[in-house]
Amino acid sequence: MAVTESSVVAPPPGWGRRIPRDEKLFFIVIVMTTVLMTAFAVGWVVWSDHNVPRTTAHTTPAEYSARVQAFTKRYADDQGRAWVPPGTDAYMLATRYSWYPELVVQSGKEVMIWISSGDVLHGFSLVGGGQNLNLEIAPNHAFGVRLTPDAPGRYRIICNEYCGLGHQTMASYLTVVSAEEMAKHVAGAGTAAGGTGTTAGGAAAGALQLTADASGKLAYDVTELAADAGAVTITMTNPSPLPHNIAIKGNGVDAKGPIVLKDGTSTVTADLKPGTYTFYCSVPGHEAAGMKGTLVVK
């Protein structure tokens, strides 16, 4: 190594003539190391089984939401969990602040899960139980990921791309069941439509009606409702691509209608005494953002 050449302030004449042998050797060694690392990284992407196969597609929030609604309608149980029979593609919608629907998949079988966003950027993060998979989820782009769960259990899904003030509440589970359990469920429920989103609105006479904001704002079209004491039914129509429902709480009552997507209707019925109640959307973060109102029962 050469003796220190010159200062940082005044370069000596002829500084550009040569690079000494030691520095040349060092440069060649680090360049070769980098090339080698790059080659290994290519091999890792091409030949290893550490990569989760992914495909992408263009979509729109409205189109994707309709697809999730059709999927959920077909496969959801009465708790809103969608049981995905092997060989079926699953669809999940990320919106502030929920993953919808919760998926139940079969252990040992490859499943294609599509994920897209109905509003802002989200981060799909499957964590815990030795699992760690992270994907960026954007509106207008759908991510399809092929997973083969190897053991039954409940795996945590969280959002890890900041999406708003309720970001930390956006969590769900991916449930993996054994082949027997899946077969039992399919035999029991068939593929008949569950209760989700299929209830015809306005069935009961004098039922209260309201509509979610069509543009995707977190609000209903009304903030005040009134009803007579007794069995009160509220039906909410959802014209937006976001998941919403209608729920009633207050005075010890806590009743929730099913969560529905675009063009679905959610109905809740409760036996109410005179008093003041709150009607709201129970999707995480929606009530806090103003999707609620007052129900006065006389």
């Binding site: 190594m1 050469a2 003796v3 220190t4 050449e5 010159s6 200062s7 940082v8 302030v9 005044a10 370069p11 500084w15 550009g16 040569r18 690079i19 000494p20 520095e23 060092f26 440069f27 680090i30 360049v31 980098t34 690392m37 790059t38 990284a41 290519v42 890792w44 992407v45 290893s48 990569n51 992408t56 802002v120 950027l121 981060g123 993060s125 964590v127 815990g128 699992q131 760690n132 992270n134 994907l135 960026e136 989820i137 954007a138 509106p139 782009h141 991510f143 945590r156 969280i158 959002c159 890890n160 791309e161 900041y162 999406c163 003030l165 309720g166 970001h167 930390q168 969590a171 589970y173």
Partner: protein, 520 residues
């Protein structure tokens, strides 16, 4: 400020301006250049204080044992931390370096003091608007501001005004060099530091142009004047700003390394051509490497992701390793020239109780750790595991705080006394500060890497999810809180030393008091 000498006759009388000769370096320092450098340096320290304060709040609140901030305050503080510590502090410092390297190092005046002060005013104005919107809670969108999430339009206006100010400073930097040559103040090759700062200025120019392409449509979108803005496209242009700006930081950090080595040990780079070639490599590789931000995006082909992310990410190690060799090799060669013997005899000559050795050692070491973790994260299959976990802040804090901020602090311990001609206040406190900051950062980096491996998400107010958290999540984030407390304490000490030097420091022109050698 005492101005010693009038202008030399060779310079046109249109630009008559007072100047002095530095007693340490022998450089001619013009009054305007000195004032503008100091003003930007002071703004940088204030921005660091703001960024550090936000960072302390965020870091401590993320420890599950403390968790004292609600979502509204937390996300506002986190946005403020990103804006102040990742944009305002380094950019103000680099503008200070640009003025210093183009005028003071070239014995020249600043091309236009009016443009200099106008740029400074725009940057201050933009920064104040940015921080106000964040403090009012109208811009809790993180410093990345990914649409469709939108902030108040003043947030984007703040960014844009700040960017225009930086553009003015870059123009002034370039024309100052041109004028210095035209007026005969400087001849021959540019000094290494000016050359390096010039590379940083080119990267800053590219990043700001990319930032304008991202932020102007985002501002239009935030106002509701259009409803089409693809977030993936925005992310591309934004990281043209965001990541290229980090390479402005890296280049400026390397310049600070050379600056510290020169002032503390009288050492230059082992070979000028080798060092300058490494600077040019940064220019070539630093822009396409933004591809690593899209490794797990639902768009962009795998080949593009691999080349722009993984391959470029690996290649960026080359210039950084070259500079690492050149800085340490330069110090070694200088110590050997002064009589150090044996394989490690030169290390024994360094005074490890001196702030220069402390900050340079910690900066080199922690930056190397950050380079390593960056290489890990930019590898496609590993990014699937790492993306948006605490592993990412572990990398960022290693390179930007451990590397850049610590090097800037060490350099500031020289720059501020030399320009204010006051002795550094606090004696050995600066050494304690550098080691404590380094130690706190190492604890943070270990804890964040651990948390990242377990999948703890970054940028979240709470990990207290219903149903409990996986094992190790709470422990790793509590350990991170300990590191934050240590580093924050050291951050406060730095601010105290800087302010005390400017206000209480003993006035002196004695070179021995202004720059104390860091070798024996």
């Amino acid at each position: 400020m005492a101005i010693a000498e009038p202008l030399p006759l060779a310079v046109s009388t249109d630009h008559r301006e007072l100047s002095r000769i530095c007693t340490v370096t022998g450089l001619r320092i013009f009054a305007g250049a000195q004032a503008l450098t100091l003003a930007n340096a002071v703004a940088a320290v204030l921005a660091l204080a703001a960024g550090g304060l936000f960072g302390t709040l965020v870091g401590l609140s993320r420890a599950p044992a403390l968790a004292f901030l609600g979502p509204g305050t937390f996300y506002a503080a986190l946005t403020g931390h990103g804006v102040a510590a990742l944009v305002l502090w380094p950019v103000f410092f680099e503008v200070a370096a640009m003025v210093f390297a183009s005028s003071i190092l070239l014995n020249a005046r600043v091309w236009s003091m009016k443009l200099g002060w106008l740029s400074f005013a725009l940057m201050i104005g933009g920064a104040v608007v940015l921080l106000l919107t964040i403090l009012l809670g109208d811009a809790s969108v993180m410093f990345t501001a990914y649409p469709p999430l939108v902030a108040t339009q003043w947030f984007y206006i703040g960014y844009l005004v700040f960017a225009v100010g930086v553009l003015g400073a870059i123009v002034n930097f370039a024309l100052t060099i041109v004028a210095a040559r035209a007026e005969g103040a400087h001849e021959g090759s540019l000094p290494l530091i000016t050359y390096g700062v010039g590379c940083a200025a080119i990267l800053a120019l590219l990043s700001i142009l990319s930032g304008l392409v991202a932020l102007i449509p985002a501002w239009v979108y935030a106002n509701g004047w259009t409803d089409t803005l693809d977030p993936i496209v925005y992310r591309g242009w934004f990281w043209g700003l965001g990541h290229t700006l980090q390479y402005v930081n890296v280049v400026a950090m390397v310049v600070a390394w050379y600056g510290i080595a020169a002032l503390a040990y009288g050492a230059g780079p082992v070979n000028q051509k080798f060092t300058r070639f490494a600077f040019v490599l940064y220019l070539i590789i630093a822009v396409p490497v933004l591809g690593h931000h899209f490794l797990v995006d639902p768009s962009i082909g795998t080949t593009t992701k691999f080349v722009g992310g993984t391959a470029m990410g690996f290649a960026l190690g080359i210039p950084s390793l070259m500079h690492g060799l050149a800085v340490m090799g330069g110090v070694e060669a200088e110590m050997r020239a002064r009589g150090a013997m044996g394989l490690f005899g030169w290390l024994k000559r360094l005074r490890f109780g001196h702030f220069a050795t402390a900050s340079l050692t910690c900066s080199l070491l922690i930056f190397a750790i950050g380079g390593w973790s960056g290489t890990v994260e930019t590898t496609l299959p590993l990014n699937l595991v790492n993306h948006n976990t605490m592993g990412v802040p572990a990398h960022i804090h290693s390179v930007v705080v451990g590397g850049t901020t610590l090097a800037f602090m060490g350099f500031a311990y020289y720059l501020v006394p030399l320009l204010s001609r006051r002795r550094l206040w606090g004696g050995r406190l600066a050494t304690v500060q550098a080691y404590l900051y380094g130690a706190g950062l190492l604890v943070m980096i270990v804890a964040q890497t651990w948390a990242g491996a377990l999948g703890v998400p970054r940028r979240t107010q709470s990990i207290d999810y219903p149903g409990g958290t996986p094992g190790g999540w709470d422990a790793s984030m509590n350990l991170n809180g300990v590191g934050v407390a240590l580093a924050s304490t050291a951050g406060v000490i730095f601010i105290v030393i800087m302010v005390a030097t400017l206000v209480l420091g003993k006035r002196t022109e004695d070179p021995a008091e202004l720059v104390e050698p860091a070798y024996s």
